[in-house]
């Protein structure tokens, strides 16, 4: 089952062999907490391998070929000579945020997030695991399924660094926390990133994770974010993906929620080569609310697969899912929404919706909304649609003298806006709104903030 990587670091080697060879070095640089799961993960990975489309949960995204080929593998922290702030600046310029950077999955050493609110910890996973192993140990590996999912097993066995956010009891972080993931490398690069977000009881935060590529080479990024949202805590998590076409991103978000907690995730895929998002919310305390939203705008040969799994483990919880996509050119999309209502999880309310617009005859969409229900006093519904722009709406606009192009843009924009309006951080919402509108107008043909998008005829430079 193991995935053969050809010519990784100049020689034929499989990922499992690569790990075996470098294991001693990886373990000596990591804390015992991160090392504790490597054995299990390694065993599981040898059995599972990188998921192919034979695995039901990866039916529409075959990761195997994407994880093979010529790659260097990032086993050590990046040493940057130039200052990151000089070569990269955020698009959302009006945003007053606490910002940190990660380069190729490693915490950027010259990060300066400024003065943090009392008690808030933002830092490197590697460092925190050494300094405060007890805290990390309590959560590490508890949510992400490293025994059953090959991609997570892969991540867990190579896990060294990533970001760590800890919001202590009763602390409300006013400013949004912005985490910028940057991929830059001279050669094709494969890397992993392991993150942890801990929201203690009654805390509040908004986190934006922005993924960018700064160089034109091929990238494979496998990231896993585990999260814990305590009693009465509130977290809004935005993942903004803006990567060039030669990027493969497998991003897993695995969260557990406790009583009366509120969590909203929003996966905004504006640009990606191949993106696979795993969003798993476990509602483990009564009256917890989980929201999962997503918007994907695809063109060229891009592929985005959103896999969500909402687990209603206890009674009286609420979940809401909305994923919308606009697919142009030869792009392909996939969506899986699984809602599980465990036995005795009575009074569950779960809603799910997936709507897709296909703009060309070559675009493809596969959607799989699933309900698995073991309790009887529940209200669950899901709906999925794939289609074109509504003819009646188009007719209405045309009768008001709006030309076809403009009407199409208006309707697509209205379609996407339903997800955009869920964004609670206003400058971000404004920025996304503008980006989406520009995108539909064709003014922003390709990725907005990467050096070159990897496509012929476009050379939009980083803004």
């Amino acid at each position: 089952m193991d995935n053969v990587i050809k010519n990784i670091i100049g020689k034929d080697i499989s990922l499992a062999e690569l790990f075996d060879e470098n294991r001693a070095a990886i373990e000596s640089h990591s804390s015992s907490v991160l090392n504790s799961l490597r054995d299990e993960a390694f065993d599981a990975f040898q059995e599972l391998g990188i998921p192919s489309n034979k695995v039901e949960n990866y039916k529409y995204t075959n990761l195997q070929p994407l994880f093979s080929g010529d790659f260097t593998f990032s086993l050590k922290p990046e040493t940057l000579t130039e200052n990151l702030e000089d070569i990269f600046s955020c698009d959302v310029d009006t945003l007053d945020s606490i910002t940190i950077y990660l380069v190729n999955g490693w915490y950027y050493t010259r990060n300066n997030p400024g003065v943090l609110p009392k008690g808030l910890v933002i830092g490197s996973m590697a460092q925190m695991a050494k300094e405060n192993p007890d805290l990390i140990e309590k959560y590490y590996g508890t949510r992400a399924p490293h025994l059953s999912d090959g991609a997570v097993a892969f991540n867990t066995m190579f896990a060294q660094d990533g970001f760590f956010v800890h919001v202590p009891k009763g602390v409300a972080v006013e400013r949004p926390i912005q985490i910028v993931n940057i991929l830059m490398s001279e050669d094709a690069l494969m890397t992993t990133q392991r993150n942890l977000v801990v929201m203690e009881d009654n805390s509040e935060a908004r986190i934006m994770v922005c993924d960018h590529t700064l160089t034109t080479g091929k990238f494979v990024m496998n990231s896993v974010t585990e999260g814990y949202v305590g009693k009465d805590a509130r977290l809004d998590l935005y993942n903004l993906q803006n990567q060039h076409n030669a990027t493969t991103q497998v991003a897993g978000f695995y969260f557990e929620q406790h009583e009366n907690s509120h969590l909203a995730t929003n996966n905004l895929t504006l640009h990606a080569g191949v993106a696979r998002n795993n969003i798993e919310l476990k509602l483990a305390g009564s009256h917890a609310e989980g929201h999962a939203y997503g918007l994907y705008l695809l063109d060229k040969n891009q592929h985005v697969d959103n896999f969500s799994y909402i687990d209603h483990a206890v009674p009286d919880c609420f979940s809401d899912e909305l994923f919308k996509g606009v697919l142009d050119d030869h792009s392909t999309g996939a969506f899986t929404g699984k809602i599980m209502v465990r036995p005795d999880a009575q009074k569950t309310n779960a809603y799910q919706s997936n709507n897709n617009l296909l703009l060309t005859n070559d675009a493809k969409m596969n959607t799989k909304p699933q309900l698995e229900i073991y309790a009887d006093d529940v209200k669950c519904s899901h709906g999925a649609t794939v289609g074109q722009i509504d003819e009646d709406a188009m007719f209405y606009l045309r009768t008001r003298g709006i030309n076809k192009e403009e009407a199409t843009i208006l309707l697509m924009y209205a379609f996407a806006y339903e997800v955009i309006e869920k964004i609670k951080v206003e400058p971000l919402r404004e920025q996304i709104r503008t980006l989406v509108e520009k995108r539909f107008r064709g003014e922003l043909d390709k990725c907005h903030s990467c050096v070159v998008c990897g496509q012929k005829g476009t050379d939009v430079t980083c803004l």
């Binding site: 493809k364 229900i373 009887d376």
Partner: protein, 482 residues
């Protein structure tokens, strides 16, 4: 309120199988087990031409290479395929001239099932090809149908009498290597029905077959083939009941339908095989492959099923919409109780232009049962203007059962319009309250609501069948309906 309701639900849902009886007829059967010899023997005893034996053997060799499918949301105990009798025929030879010659016990069985095989059936306007285990026993109406050129006979007869037609269409919709159970069926199928409607003919009556699993330890492997030529129409009814038994019985049938230009085939099923007792002991394993091919333009195939029986149901009546403007429909009520498991649904494969499909599925779970809808809507790249609407509703009665939905939508054409909706709910207390308020007691209210819930599907059934379907729901939910 809730406890009283639970009590009624419990009472209503613990009814036992009413059609459990066993007919004692001497059987001519092969020993247990499956091998190439057994297949050769089956083919020999049935006096089949060479091509059929080849067909069977090829299917058997394919089957040997396959693995039991485990993707369904079912818990299937391991089946020992060598512990099954693959051929059993009633010894009293079925070549009878009149009703009087029919084995009286057999006749009584059908009477108990309420099949009017006698002359009144003629008045009722239904022709019956009754399958008792494996060999067709009695065929009525054959002459009337023959006048119109309609062929309605057992598949064994068809193989002998119309080898060209059978050779042309058998396996054209469900190839022998299609799936594990289809391969098994193709290798060992014992009997079934064959229907051929010639060009421009509308079948004057509804054709109906009652299947009945009888002798102990006999897996029944029916094979049904329906061919509707251009501009023809036929409505086919299939109904099943089986005697109460403790040992699990395997049932792996295949139904193939071919509809040519402007032809319309309506296939209705009421399935009430023995579901096992209240503790989940016994019951039929129902692993069926049903598929219709809308081959010609403007053709139409419609599946309607009411599934109340079987310990395990694994069944996906599907439509391949190949002709332009063709359409497929699927209406289903699946009711599971006690320890029953059902994984059922449909596949709508849109290949032609302007094709339409409609899926209405209503699941009802009670007791400790698990009920899943699994469906695929696929729009291929060349299927311009395909249209699909799917609705899958689940109703849960009790907190120990499960209701699941696994729809797959694969869309490769931008002119497609595909919608899927699913809801899961229980009978609302407010609904019951509303009925109580108007003097309807809780039990009747539950019946009323369930009845209303499935009406959309029941309405699709032909009249007599609709009555029977309601009766079955009644038995399965014991008097709560109506």
């Amino acid at each position: 309120m809730a406890t009283e309701q639970d009590k009624i639900l419990e009472e209503v849902t613990k009814g036992e199988y009413k059609y459990g009886f066993y007919t004692d007829i001497e059987m001519d059967m092969l020993p247990k087990g499956l091998s190439e010899e057994v297949i050769k023997e089956i083919s020999k005893r049935k006096g089949e031409p060479e091509f059929m034996l080849e067909y069977r053997l090829e299917a058997y060799r394919n089957w040997l290479k396959m693995e039991t499918p485990d993707w369904a949301h079912l818990n299937i105990p391991e089946i020992d395929f060598q512990d099954i009798i693959y051929y059993a025929a009633p010894k009293s030879k079925p070549k009878l001239d009149s009703m009087d010659d029919v084995d009286p016990e057999l006749k009584a069985t059908f009477d108990k099932l309420g099949i009017p095989l006698e002359e009144q059936k003629q008045l009722a306007g239904v022709a019956v090809d009754a399958v008792m285990d494996s060999v067709s026993v009695k065929t009525t109406f054959r002459e009337t149908l023959a006048e119109k050129g309609i062929i309605f006979c057992s598949i064994s007869d068809a193989i002998k009498e119309y080898p060209d037609l059978v050779k042309k269409h058998l396996g054209s919709v469900v190839p022998p290597n299609d799936n594990y159970f289809a391969a098994l069926n193709s290798a060992v199928f014992s009997d079934g029905s064959f229907v051929y409607i010639p060009k421009g003919v509308r079948s004057p009556v509804e054709l109906s077959t009652y299947f009945r699993i009888n002798a102990m330890n006999t897996g029944q492997f029916e094979r049904t083939l329906i061919v509707a030529e251009d501009d023809s129409y036929v409505s086919y009814l299939e109904g099943c009941t089986a005697p109460q038994r403790d040992e699990n019985q395997l049932h792996a049938a295949i139904v193939e339908i071919v509809a040519m230009e402007r032809a319309e085939v309506k296939y209705s099923t009421v399935q009430n095989w023995y579901p096992g007792d209240k503790d989940g002991k016994g019951g039929i394993y129902n692993f069926v492959t049903k598929r219709g091919l809308c081959k010609g333009d403007y053709s139409k195939i419609s599946w309607t099923q009411v599934e109340t029986g079987s310990a395990i149901t694994w069944k996906y009546p599907s439509c391949v919409l190949m002709g332009d403007h063709s359409s497929g429909e699927f209406y289903s009520v699946a009711l599971t109780n006690n320890h029953q498991q059902a994984d059922t649904g449909t596949k709508m494969i849109h290949l032609g232009k302007n094709t339409k499909s409609l899926v209405v599925s209503k699941g009802i779970s009670a007791g400790k049962s698990q009920n899943s809808y699994r469906g695929l809507v696929k729009v291929s790249k060349r299927a311009e203007n395909a249209r699909n609407f799917s609705q899958c509703d689940s109703l849960l009665m009790g907190d120990k059962c499960g209701a699941h939905t696994f729809p797959y939508l694969e869309i490769n054409n931008n002119s497609a319009k595909v919608e899927h909706e699913a809801t899961t709910s229980k009978i609302g207390e407010d609904q019951i309250f509303y009925c109580n308020q108007r003097g309807i007691d809780t039990e009747s209210a539950v019946g009323l609501i369930v009845n209303g819930y499935v009406k959309e599907v029941i309405n699709q059934l032909p009249m007599e069948f609709a009555v029977e379907a309601q009766k079955l729901l009644e038995i399965s939910l014991e008097g709560s309906v109506g």
